[in-house]
């Protein structure tokens, strides 16, 4: 084997994506807090004309945090974990380095364009697939570039065995490629509109009615699966063992959970369409598969918790371990909550209520957000060769954000169930007891609490951004790379 003493891992692309993660996190989460307060105080919708309305800002929030913050975090950790577990450096291939950089810049431009077009009102109106067709084409280009970089790096590896984290990243790449193309099959109207008024920024879906809804939620739920779940599992399977210095509790379980998740997840999307016009057997299958999903999800989550066996004292000493253990716990919470909501009788109350965003946010804030934050914190001393600037600030951030998440999901649980019960309440004559506005009045305090919870989380995110900036610029310089626990002042 070649001596690699002179060769180092290259973190230039990791740094670029780290910057994007923080930038898009700030944008996406700030907008999230604004729209949360708009729901509590509707007069806030009128501050910036059409550009400040809930309908313009909501897709900006979801796209910003899912495809801005989360994807950047996934790409940043991929270029880090990929190089390290495959034992190859991007420095070894000029081609792959160029591809990786082009991947970043095209991605970055696309997300900036997404911000501009969404706030200008250009949207396909399909949830989580709002971007119009020219942007969709751009997405395909950098997604393929990511694939070229990924499989190029795998092809150049020195390590024959491919670590389970890489499997999860690969699954994300392959599944999203398939889902994205099929759900974004659209007809740009400008080419076929004749003399009718049209725009280059307008398209209609190739599917219609129920078929459109089916494809949309096959995609929509698997955006949750392959953006918010599998790559994040890949992240925890690398960063928790590495930071704690503990081998994975059971590698066999990690492999089994992987295949279980791969098979089951793709069938669960039907639960978004319960009590709708899709065939009944699809609804039942969506429900059943959602319940089965508990097994592979908890398989990974329990595997992570057991990895800490005998080492729980690290939870007291390291805020970074706290982030990851709580992330794993939130993953367990949201993967038991989701299946419960997918049971038809529960869904009859939960559907269209605030319990749904409550569920989404204990997953995204607690699981996705915490794992990406932890991953970036872990990489910082290795990328910048400096100690993490402040342990105290990290600890404060952890508690502030945890409080924020708890405020968020508890208020939405109460609001959602209250809402669901009030919508269904009727008197002895079969007349509804409440009008819609009655529910809005009752929910006001919970909406305010949700906004405050979001504000806590956002404040914590600013602390994270500050801590990362200070680490990169003025942390104590390290003379050698830390093996496990990240050094922090």
């Amino acid at each position: 084997m070649q001596s690699n003493a002179q060769l180092e891992y290259d973190y230039s692309v990791v740094k670029l994506f780290t910057f994007a993660t923080i930038l898009f996190g700030i944008i996406g989460m700030t907008i999230g807090v604004i729209i949360a307060f708009q729901l509590a105080f509707p007069e806030l919708s009128n501050l910036a004309g059409e550009y400040g309305t809930f309908s313009r800002l909501r897709p900006l929030h979801t796209n910003g945090v899912a495809f801005g913050f989360t994807l950047s975090g996934i790409f940043a950790t991929w270029y880090y974990v990929g190089q390290r577990t495959l034992k190859m450096s991007l420095k070894e291939s000029k081609f792959l380095m160029r591809v990786a950089k082009l991947h970043f810049w095209l991605y970055f431009i696309t997300i900036l364009l997404a911000v501009v077009t969404l706030i200008s009102g250009y949207t396909t109106s399909k949830e989580y697939a709002e971007l119009e067709w020219p942007l969709d084409l751009l997405v395909v280009v950098w997604w393929v570039l990511w694939g070229v970089a990924m499989f190029g790096m795998i092809g150049m590896r020195r390590e024959r065995a491919i670590y389970v984290s890489i499997w999860y990243y690969m699954s994300s790449f392959l599944a999203i490629a398939m889902l994205y193309i099929f759900n974004n099959m659209e007809v740009p109207t400008i080419f076929w509109s004749g003399d009718a008024p049209s725009s280059i920024m307008h398209s209609i879906s190739m599917y219609s009615g129920t078929n459109d809804a089916l494809v949309q939620w096959w995609y929509g739920h698997n955006a949750v699966a392959f953006v918010f779940t599998t790559p994040i599992i890949g992240i925890i399977y690398y960063f928790l063992p590495k930071e704690s210095g503990q081998p994975v509790f059971s590698y066999k379980l990690s492999v089994l959970a992987f295949w279980g998740l791969m098979f089951v997840y793709l069938w669960a999307g039907g639960h978004h369409l319960l009590y709708s016009t899709v065939p009944d057997w699809m609804q039942t299958m969506g429900s059943a598969m959602s319940v089965v999903l508990i097994l592979p999800s908890w398989g990974s989550a329990i595997n992570m918790l057991l990895t800490m066996k005998g080492e729980w004292q690290q939870l007291q000493t390291s805020p970074l371990i706290k982030f990851m253990i709580l992330a794993s716990t939130f993953y367990m919470l949201s993967t038991i909550e989701g299946p419960i909501q997918a049971i038809k009788s529960v869904n009859a109350i939960a559907h269209f209520t605030d319990w749904i965003p409550g569920h989404v946010h204990d997953g995204t804030l607690g699981w996705v957000g915490f794992m990406i934050i932890a991953g970036l914190y872990h990489m910082a001393p290795r990328m910048y060769k400096r100690e993490i600037y402040s342990k105290k600030l990290m600890d404060t951030q952890f508690w502030l954000q945890t409080t924020g998440i708890v405020l968020y999901f508890t208020s939405m649980w109460i609001a959602g169930i209250t809402q669901g019960m009030m919508w269904r309440a009727y008197d002895d004559y079969g007349s509804l007891l409440y009008s819609f506005i009655d529910t809005v009045e009752v929910l006001h305090p919970y909406y305010t609490l949700r906004g405050i919870g979001g504000l806590f989380y956002l404040t914590g995110f600013f602390m994270f951004a500050f801590n990362m900036y200070k680490t990169a610029t003025s942390g104590r310089v390290l003379d050698k790379e830390p093996a496990n626990a990240s050094p922090m002042a």
Binding site: M1, Q2, S3, N4, A5, L7, E8, Y9, R84, T85, K87, S89, E92, M156, R157, R158, E159, R160, A161, Y163, V164, S165, Y237, Y238, P241, K242, G245, P247, V248, S250, Y251, K252, V255, L256, W259, G260, F263, W281, M285, E481, N484
Partner: protein, 71 residues
């Protein structure tokens, strides 16, 4: 073919496909646990891919690379 017959076929189809996947998955689970127990293959060693991930550490299962041959 009547709608009822179609539903019956679909029902049996679903049952047997699920049974097939069930057998495949648990068969795989049994096989990896058995291979670990008999010592045929050690799956747990792959945890070290994370713990020993510096570029100059020896790979767990080295892979031949064209580039390395030229060095």
């Amino acid at each position: 073919m009547s709608q009822e017959t179609l539903f019956t076929i679909a029902g049996y189809g679903k049952f047997f496909i699920t049974l097939f996947i069930f057998i495949m998955f648990y068969g795989y689970a049994y096989s990896i646990y058995k291979r670990q127990k008999t010592g045929e293959k050690d799956f747990e060693k792959y945890s070290n891919l994370v713990l020993n991930d510096s570029l100059d550490s020896t790979p767990l299962e080295p892979r031949y690379r064209k580039q390395d041959k030229n060095d």
